[in-house]
Symmetry: C2
Subunit: 415 residues, 2 copies
């Protein structure tokens, strides 16, 4: 069969096309279930935080002016008129000049009190009198109503990834449920006559399917929900049928294997047979050149290389940005980038981007880490296990010299 | 009641004591469930990977010597004697001099073939003859049996945190289940008469419990499993009873609130009444000075500050290293550290460590980011939401000047 040879596009062009897939719809979730989700609407506070003026110390609510000029040699003497128990309103009785009210951290300031004195800077002289030996300024050791968050103000913008502290502040504002984007549902299919489930003992030239479990983990790290659809042999009709089912049930379908220009390259034809538009077939990148992206409606189909290391690298560069974008984040890989110094010369070819698996070696504290390429033939898998991240070499250079500063993309932390 | 005043220890001394809690026991889990878990034993390969010599390209298995000296003007002509279908063994027929066998990426090399020629560098001259115009060296475009992993070698060491690519390689080796450390079970109790569940409308001086949902998220990020035990009023007997239950059901108990030197400081006494040894009460740190660590057998009890920002910072510095240690990782916070330049002068006091919430602002690509303190009174919550991480100021300095290089600990990424 004669077919168009690869029309290679650049990595940047590939990523730019991911924006054609719109962000997923929303769901309304209880606050406790939103860790790692992305806000679909900005969060506007319905009330002041705190809702009343509060002390930030254990001590006494006072009028600040009553403490001006006091010192260890000249105590300000104040009359203790009462106490604010925790969790109770202070009552409506204002603090009059010369008076003080006992209270604890977080306690409500009584009317007319405009500061709190720390217990450590007081001396109890008799059951009804304290001496204060450090003055306070108005507003000191307390927070006004609404000083943290004003009612009607934006607490978190749309598109914000929810972290534990964000959930804490929303709880403090009485937010019990949130509108967040759905998580992308991702179908994972491994293709190849030679594959057997990893729990099986391979016979003859068979090999175990390692990609499905790896891709499932990568999908989770990127905020998606993986669904493993097993192994499909290189049979056009079976692969077409399995892809059709997966496409119905998912937002994204990942195939690994079967994307080379060889005789068994069914993936592209299967995608086309499903009525999908082939958006990309071939990227100017090593590894990962034969990667395919297709579109059916708002759903994406990826043809990833069969080799695990290539599948992982193309996942990081192309699938991860899509999953993040579908979830409401920017359409970027979002991997942390560190500056490092190349340990060796690293050759590459003009006209394509190379991504090398590298280890980062700490040097002297003040110096940048060394980036050491994990050597080994391109077909090996263990370099992935030994690597900390990827070192990109641009398409316009012929490799990098040793001792130069460059970026390394770190593999995500996983908890 | 008279009691010992704080005996403050340093942050480093506190963290050193966490090592007294031994790593948790192990469990045997199916491979698919081990993402983010820590290996309890080194993983030794039972077999070679690959288990047979494989081609890494689509093309022809050859004897490399047959291609030496060929070029576009002088093709090496070889006789095609057969094909290795994917997933099948090549048979026992060796490749003789002058012969070639068609095969695909991942296919098994036939006996006596020592290299593979890429399809792109061949021309089919007739149905039984190819011409090769680029020579290959022995070993080129193929991987020997065991070249990736030798049977009997260590694939991953004990204490390794399992990432997607690690799971992929283990699947490739036929590992279906792994011995990993248990996840720490963490009980979360919020204390304070003033607290109400965040879904309630506070009356009078009440405030919503924001710490439990925040701490639950922080526990998850640190690899633990949170269990929320609700709110306990400042009642000695009720708090003792709730802690006793939590301690039975968990590896670690987190209390927030009730740790100051004020009248309502029950936490320490409750821990003591449970028969726990008080290991730490007071750290030379701001915020977080009144933090408590106690031990009952191998179980840990923390008394964290009630204020959300202080609770989060002390969690990051003290609880997170313990949860990681219990899970089999080093007893360190494990937060990513970046170098940054201080934007302003940041005052602090000698004799204690300060941790400031900071934002990181990107500068010119080649320059380090700026660390900008998130300003606001210490009782505010929104600085946590605006911050990207923590900037530590050591106990032996009086603050940092503007424009100096320093470390920033990044809050964890969350997926």
């Amino acid at each position: 069969m004669i077919r168009d040879f690869f029309k290679l596009i650049s990595v940047a062009e590939f990523i730019a096309r991911l924006g054609e897939f719109p962000v997923l719809t929303c769901e309304h979730l209880p606050l406790e279930q939103t860790l790692g989700r992305v806000l679909a609407q900005e969060s506007i506070s319905a009330e002041h935080l705190p809702s009343f003026g509060r002390s930030t110390v254990d001590g006494y609510a006072v009028r600040a002016a009553d403490t001006f000029g006091c010192s260890e040699s000249e105590l300000a003497l104040l009359h203790i008129t009462g106490e604010v128990p925790m969790g109770a309103l202070p009552g409506t009785e204002p603090v009059r000049p010369g008076n003080a009210v006992r209270l604890w951290t977080g306690g409500a300031l009584p009317p007319k009190a405009d500061a709190a004195v720390m217990l450590e800077y007081t001396q109890q002289l008799d059951p009804h009198t304290i001496g204060i030996f450090r003055p306070v300024a108005p507003g000191e050791n307390c927070i006004r109503a609404g000083e943290d968050v004003m009612a009607g103000s934006c607490v978190l913008p749309a598109g914000h990834l929810l972290r534990p502290q964000d959930m804490g502040v929303l709880a403090g504002l009485g937010v019990t449920a949130l509108m967040v984007h759905r998580r992308p549902q991702v179908a994972i299919i491994a293709t190849g006559d030679e594959l057997v489930p990893y729990a099986h003992t391979p016979q003859g030239g068979q090999i175990r399917n390692m990609n499905s479990v790896m891709l499932a983990g990568l999908v989770r790290q990127a905020g998606g929900e993986p669904h493993i659809y097993g192994i499909c042999p290189d049979n056009f009709e079976r692969l077409r049928a399995l892809c059709a089912t997966a496409l119905e049930q998912s937002d994204v379908v990942l195939l690994s294997g079967g994307t080379s220009v060889g005789q068994r390259d069914f993936t592209r034809d299967v995608f086309a047979a499903l009525g999908a538009e082939i958006m990309v077939h071939g990227v100017a990148i090593k590894p990962g050149k034969p990667t395919i992206l297709a579109r059916q409606g708002n759903k994406a189909l990826f043809g990833l290389p069969g080799h695990a290391a290539s599948a992982m690298i193309t996942f990081m560069l192309f699938v991860r940005p899509l999953l993040r974008g579908l979830s409401g984040l920017p359409y970027t890989h979002g991997l942390r980038t560190v500056r490092a110094i190349t340990e060796y010369q690293m050759p590459s070819s003009m006209g394509r981007e190379d991504y090398l698996c590298v280890q980062l070696l700490d040097q002297d504290r003040a110096a940048l880490p060394l980036a050491r390429p994990v050597l080994g033939k391109s077909g090996l898998l263990t370099p992935l296990v030994r690597a900390h991240g990827l070192l990109p070499i641009g398409r316009d250079v012929e490799g990098l010299d040793s001792g130069v500063e460059t970026d390394v993309l770190l593999f995500p932390e996983q908890y």
